[in-house]
Every structure is written in structure tokens, then in C-alpha cells.
């Protein structure tokens, strides 16, 4: 089944490349490793198509006049912000940014629908629920901290968890002062804490107290990035820059004239901090096993 899909994708790409073709301007937030990884992965994926990357900039400088690209791919929130700020007229695919940032920037710079789309970093709630179900099979109650930014997401999550046979409990916190009381109130009620991208709650200065609080109460934190796992979260469901690039290339080569609405990443990766797991007396399954289980789950539905 997977092979068939890949073959189809390949054929689509080949076909469209024959029909469509154009230029892509790549705008990176900076030259950091994730962006570089994305850039090279995208270039690689576009090889053999009619699309080619004509420029790779950080968006500070204006691209050469008279040779405007058919499509602009922004990598990272900052790249999108700069691109929007300079009034880019071509189609824009925003990648490698949280949904929150995209929404905020779009709200600031109005763009007609169909001229801009995005591939978020945020994992879909169903996938998260599936992940948690396989990761912590005995746990039925999952807690989540929400702020003004993410309060709207609480309902889809709750529905997804319910669908997966789990209960999502949430606690509101909008300031630093209320964070620890909220977490201390939430954790005793749930078996794990699910962290979703939220600029108000999960700041660099807050991650440590959150992790310590969770650890003191022997609750695992399920996060959204590898960095979070390295900082002390037990596991994370995430999508790598290459995977996003791959998805982006697919999008470019499929139908660039009219862009689809923003979508979550289609592919994902799993990161598990075994040390933390041991400290919490948990023994989560292997990443590959988890991944297979999740894919099997999706196909079964």
C-alpha cells in the first residue's frame, strides 16, 4: 500500500513536472542547521523536476528585479515575517513554523487565500492521541496547559483523546506567576503532561521549572521537539526539517497555481529520553515499534 502511494506520488511529480515548471525562491530565517538541512533536502527533492531554486536568501535583501520567482518558500517564522514585510507578490509556502506564528503573521499581513499556505510543525491532535496511547498504554488521563494562544485547541484535542479512549484534562495559565500553581494543580489529576507549542507557557526560562515540577510529581512530559526531550521531557512526537522539505517539494510539484489551506506535517518522528523514562520507572516501547503501531492504527481506521 505504501509502495503504491509512493509510486503514485512519483508519477504525479513526474507528470506535473512535465506539465508545470517554474522558479522557487528560498527564504531562510537564518543559516542555522535546521534551515540548511531543509534547504538541501528541498533542492534534492526538486532535482529532476521543472522546478528549480533560483535563490536562497535570508530575506533581508531584495531578490534581483525582473527575475521574480514563481514561488517563494519561507523557512521559519522569521523568514515568513520578512517575506511578508517586504510585500512578496508571488505564491508563498511557509514552512517550518508553529501554527501559532503563522496565524499571528497572517493576521498582521492580510493575504488573499490561495496565494499563501503553510506546512505547520504542530502535530495533529489525533496523532498525538495515538502516540500517547501506544507510549503509555496504562494511562488514561492526560493533562495539558493552555493559554490564550492555545485555548482554542483544547476542544479538538479533547475530542481526539476521547476518540482514542483517553481523557484530556487542562488548566489555564496566562502568566509566569500562575504557571507553577496551575501545573501543581493539574499534575496530581493526570498521568502525563502533554506539551503543545505555546509561546506563552513553554519559554526557555519556564521549561526547567515545568520539568522539575513534573519530575517531582513523577509525571512524564510528552513534548513536541527533540530539544524538549533533551531538556528532560520523556518523549516527543515531531517532524524533522527534511520531512517538511519533502512535503514541501510534494506540494510545489503538485499544484502550485492554487495553494491548499495550511496543513500539519504528513510525516513524523519519535524521540524518547530513556534516562527520564527509567527515572520515572517507565519502560516505553522502542521508537520503531511505536511508529509501526501508530501507522497501523491510522490504516486500520
Amino acid at each position: 500500500m505504501r509502495a503504491v502511494r509512493q509510486l503514485l506520488l512519483f508519477l504525479t511529480v513526474c507528470l506535473s513536472s512535465q506539465v508545470w515548471g517554474g522558479t522557487v525562491a528560498l527564504v531562510l530565517s537564518d543559516s542555522g542547521s535546521a534551515y540548511a538541512e531543509f534547504s538541501s533536502a528541498l533542492s534534492e527533492a526538486l532535482l529532476g523536476t521543472n522546478w528549480r531554486v533560483i535563490s536562497t536568501t535570508t530575506g533581508d535583501n531584495m531578490p534581483p528585479v525582473g527575475d521574480s520567482p514563481n514561488l517563494t518558500v519561507t523557512v521559519g517564522s522569521e523568514a515568513l515575517r520578512r517575506t511578508l514585510a517586504r510585500g512578496e507578490t508571488s505564491l508563498i509556502i511557509a514552512t517550518l513554523l508553529p501554527r501559532q506564528s503563522y496565524d499571528k503573521l497572517i493576521a498582521e499581513h492580510r493575504r488573499p487565500t490561495g496565494r499563501i499556505t503553510a506546512i505547520y510543525l504542530d502535530q495533529p491532535p489525533a496523532r498525538q492521541a495515538a502516540f500517547l496511547r501506544h507510549l503509555l498504554p496504562g494511562n488514561k488521563r492526560v493533562g495539558m496547559l493552555v493559554s490564550n494562544e492555545t485555548r482554542s485547541l483544547a476542544t479538538p484535542y479533547r475530542q481526539a483523546f476521547n476518540a482514542a479512549g483517553m481523557t484530556l484534562d487542562s488548566e489555564d495559565t496566562d502568566t509566569g506567576d500562575t504557571l507553577l500553581p496551575a501545573i501543581n494543580a493539574l499534575l496530581p489529576r493526570v498521568g502525563a503532561l502533554l506539551a503543545i507549542p505555546d509561546g506563552t507557557i513553554y519559554q526557555r526560562s519556564n521549561i526547567k521549572p515545568i520539568l522539575i515540577s513534573a519530575f517531582r510529581q513523577q509525571r512524564p512530559v510528552i513534548a513536541y521537539s527533540v530539544a524538549f526531550v533533551n531538556a528532560g521531557a520523556m518523549a516527543a512526537l515531531h517532524t524533522t526539517a527534511s520531512q517538511i522539505a519533502q512535503q514541501t517539494a510534494e506540494l510545489i510539484t503538485s499544484n502550485p497555481s492554487s495553494l491548499p489551506p495550511p496543513s500539519p506535517p504528513t510525516q513524523f518522528s519519535i524521540a524518547i529520553n530513556r534516562t527520564v523514562a527509567q527515572a520515572l520507572n517507565l519502560n516505553p516501547p522502542d521508537e520503531a515499534v511505536l511508529r509501526r503501531a501508530m501507522i497501523a492504527d491510522r490504516e486500520n481506521r
Binding site: R204, I207, I212, A231
Partner: protein, 694 residues
Amino acid sequence: MNDLTLRHRLLMLTLLPSTLISIILVAYFTFSGIKTLEGELTLKGMATVRYLAPISEYGIIAGQIEGLHGLAQATVQEPGVKAAIIVNQKGKTIAVSGRVSLSADILRQSVNEPQKVAETEGWIGFGAPVRRSLSEADVLFEPVNGPAAAPEVIGHVFVEFDKTELTNQQRQLLHRGLIIALVGLLLLAALAIAMADNLTRPVLRLVQAVRNMSSGHFDARVPTNSTGELGILEAGFNEMAAHIENVHSQMQSRIEEATAQLAFQARHDALTGLLNRREFEVRLEKALTGVQASGDEFSVLFLDLDRFKQVNDTCGYLAGDELLRQVSHLLQGRLRDEDTLARLGGDEFCVILPACNAQRAWQVAEDICSLTGSYRFIWQDKVFAIGSSIGVTTVNRKVRNISEILAAGDAACHRAKESGRNRVCRQDASQPQERRQDGSNWASRIASALNDGRLLIEAVPLSALQKPPNGHVVELTARLNEPGQSPVTLAALSDAAERYDLAPRIDQMLLDAAFTALARARRQRKSLYCIVPLSRASISSRETAEYIGRGLLEHRLNGRELCLIFSEDTLTHMTSQAMAFVHQVLPLNCQVGLADFGGGLASFSHLRSIGPKYVKLSGSLTRDLNGNRASSALLRAIHEITADQGIDTIADEIEDPVILDQLRDLGIDYAQGKAVAPSEPFEVWLEGAVLRPA
């Protein structure tokens, strides 16, 4: 500084720098130790707050007051920690433990990094900020326009440390340092003193030894038990001292020797080894004192050599010295051991004859006189007849001092010399005597006599014994007439005259008188023949012949009436000069005669060499003619030889008419003396005997 002793200098040299260094070292280490302790405390405090701050972070964030109290208490448990305070962002104390001394102001102040916030005598406070720690987050999820927030300060921790312990430790360190310094210094001082003593002891010994040496203790030595340079110094000093002692003793003995020699020389005559004048006077003084005490008598002989000057002039002073030595031996051989023989100077000798009366002394004097008279001094090829004039004086207790003795003896000796030499005269010391003219006055006496005309020319007429007289024959002589003095004959004058170069003037005076007399006699057509004696000096001078030539020419005289007579001695000892003189005067037709003929051994050889007209026989041949066969045989032999050569013989000083007859019998041609005619002033004789009208 300069008047410090060696020991003090050594002590100062060793103690001063080491004391300074040790004090500096101990002070340095003590204070650095104190600093280190302080530094350690600071480090400990800083470390404590640095550790306390992060672990307080969660408690502050989470508001876990109990946990923070636990942390504060745990911190206070640390040694030296007095109090621990944790304050929140607003400066409100949320946990505290221990006795807090920090003021509320300090607790409220914001501290940016771990640091010391307060310090007093008793405690020290440190503070550090508690920062919110930042976790590494995924950049992709950073909010857009999110400020790069600096780590937020969420509170402070303060820790107070008690300094009592530190102060105690510091005090202990200081005490220990002081004790170490003190002990070290004491040890150092003891060591330095021992070293200084060790070094200075031998030096002080050397110093003492040098002092002893310089104060005359040449036996000063130092023990040579030191090593190294001091040992060398000590050994060297001892060697030097031994050398100096040795040299000193040698010098001492030399000085003693020299002193003895000087003492001997002071008392003795260098030439003859006899006592000198000074010692003689001392002995004389002693003898006089003895005589004055005991009442005994002793006699003193004053002896003056005759013809000593002649030897000296003819053969040099070496011969004179030798003569004096020989005479000394001669006299010593004849004297007793107890007699004291001394040389007073020149040719004067003195003999003290202890316990000897006048009669015995006279005999001794006669004995010595004949001894010296018969003594012949031989020098190279020349033979001298010496004689001595001796004055005898006898000393008894009436004599008051030695000056009287000396004066009497001198006068007696002088009289003996004036009376014709080689004889003995006597003078009593106790009797006042006429003052003798000092010998050194002769020059002025003769000179003034010549100037004042007090030197009278006398005529000694000669009597022809064999044939009838053909005119008058006279010998000219002179006599010194001084007021209050007895007349002095030419014979007595001649020594002094020769010595002071006055003899030629006397000779010229005689010659002048002869020229005048001969001139006058010729004018009166009277026959006169003059015999003029010439001194040794005149014979040796070329001017004499010239003077005679001028005189003859001036008075238009034929030299045939003039006979120049000189002593055979002169011919013997000044042969070449005498021969030259004879060859000078013979062309003037003058005739030459020899006086004192027969006294020497070479008399006969002279007859041939100079061919004299007359010879005047030596007094020794004619004096004891009476009954002496040897003398008469000798005279006869002389007569035979002289007669054979046409030489006339003259016998002088004939006082006895009997002898005159004997002489006539022996064939002697002329005689003079009292038996013939007394000598009388020449002018008187000339007027009376020659120029008297027939």
C-alpha cells in the same frame, strides 16, 4: 662604625642581614598566610552562595518556603557559616537560618553576581543573585518577535560567615610566625656568636702577641691550632717572631760587642793599642787619689820621641805609624806589668810607675832613654836613629790634681828636648814650675822672633888644630831670645821650624848675615870663612841655590869663602834632593859640608858622592873620646879617609881642653865648643875677632 671590634663587626655582618631576611620572610609568609586564609574564606563564601543560588531557584519559583528553609539550615550547618538568608525578587526574606547580622538595606539591594556584600570585624557577608535558568529550546518554536530575554533575577541568597575562626587561625599563624622568627633568631645569634668567637679568638691572640712583641717581649708566641688562613697567619707570626727574636738577640750581642769595642776604643789608642789620653788621665786620677789616701809616691814619665817628624816627612805617615807601634812594643817590653803605658797623642807617651820613688824613676827613664837612643828604625832602605826626650815627675800627697802632674811632666819633657834631645829631665809636680810654652805656639814664636829680630845670630868659632890659622873660620848659628825665657838653641828650634816651614827663613837670615860679614871682611881685607848650616827644607828647595847665587852676586863675593853644611841624615833620607842641591851650589864655588858625620852607617859612601869640603863629626863620636879606644880608632879611620880626599874634619861641642889635644893628635882639623871659644853674638864676634884693626 670604625671603632667597632672585629667581633662586633662579624656579629653585625652575620646577624644584621640574616635578621632582616628572617623577619621579612616570616612577616611575608605570615601575612600571606593570613591573606590566604582570608582568600580561602572569601572563596568559600563565594562558592557557597554560588551553589546556594541555583538550588534556591526552584524553591523561589515554586514558592516552596519549607524547601528553602531546609536549604538555609543545611547551609548554616556548614562550618563557619553564621547565617543564610534567601530573599525573593522584591527583597522580601523568604527563608532564613542562623543569626542574621546583615541589614535590611543590604538584603534589599540587587546583586548581579556572587560577591562580598558586607564585612565587619566579626563576620563577612556574601550575596549572589538567583537567576531563572534557561533551557535549550527548539528555535523553530520561538515566538515571532520574541525578545531574547536575559536570565531573570528572581531573588537573592545571602550567607554570613563567622570570622572568629578566621581571626583565631590568623592569630595562631601570627603567633607561630613570631615564635619561629624568635627561635630562628636566637639560634642564629648563638651560631653567629659562636662563629665570631671562633674566628676572633685566634685573631685576638695574634693581636695580643703583636702587642707583646711591640712592647719588647720577643718571646711572644701564639698557639697554632687554627686551620686555614688563620693557621697560616699564626704559623707565620711564630716564624716571624722567632726570626725577630733571633735577629734581636744577634743584634743585641753585636751591640754589646760594638759597645765593648767602643768602650775599648774610647779608652785605647787605635794605632798602638795603648791606653789613650782620656783613660790615662782617669788612671792618673785614680793613682793620685790612692797616693793621697796612702801617702805613697808614684812617678810619671813623659816621653817625646825625637826625630819622629823626620821619619814621617821622609817616608810618609805609614812609616810614622809603624815607628809608633814599634816603640810601643819596645817600651812595653821594658816595663813592669803594673806600670801603665799610654800614648797621649802624636809621638808623646806617658808611663805611670806605681810605688816608685824619684830615684828609681830616674833610673827607669835613663834606661828607656838609652833604649830608644840605641834603637834603629828601618823602613825600606832607610835607617833612622830615634831618641826620646823624657820628663820625670814624682807624685806625692802634696799634689792636688792631675793638672799639676801633667804640667810638670810636660815641662820636664820639654826641657829635655830643648837641652838637646835624648835625655832625661826632672820636675816635681808639687813645686810650682815655669809655664811651658805650648808646642803649638812655636809658629808664632819663631815668626815673631824673626820679625822682631829676637832671633840672635851667634858665631861658633872654629879652631884649626893641625895648621896655623889662615884667617877666621866660623860657623853661624842662631838662638831664640825671649823675655823671661831661657834662650833656645837652633838645634831645639829646628824641629819646630821645620814643622812650620820657618826653617828656610832662618837659613836665609844666616846666609844674609854670612854674606854681609864676608863682604865686610873683604872690604877690610880680612880673611873670613863662614860655615852656614842649612835645614832640610832649604836643601830640598831649588830656590835656596838661587838665593845664594843672588846673594853672592849682590855682595860681589866669591863663593869660595862660604861653606854650606847640612846633616848627614838629610843626605841619607833625601839623597836625590841633596845631590841636586850640591850640583847647584858647586858652580857658585861654594863648598859643602856634612854635619853629624859618622852617626849613620852610610857616612863614607856620601864622601864620594858629594865631595864635601868639610865634615862635622857626630857628637856621639867625640863626646866620650876620653879613654875610649873604640871612639878614637873610629875617629882615626875617619880622619884617614877624609884626609885622603882632602876633606877637613870638624869636631864640635868640645868642652874639655884634654879632648882638644886628643883630637889634635888624631889629626882632626878643626874644633869648636867651649874649649875653643864660647859662642857669642855674631856681630860682636865679627867686630871683635875679625874686623879688629891689627
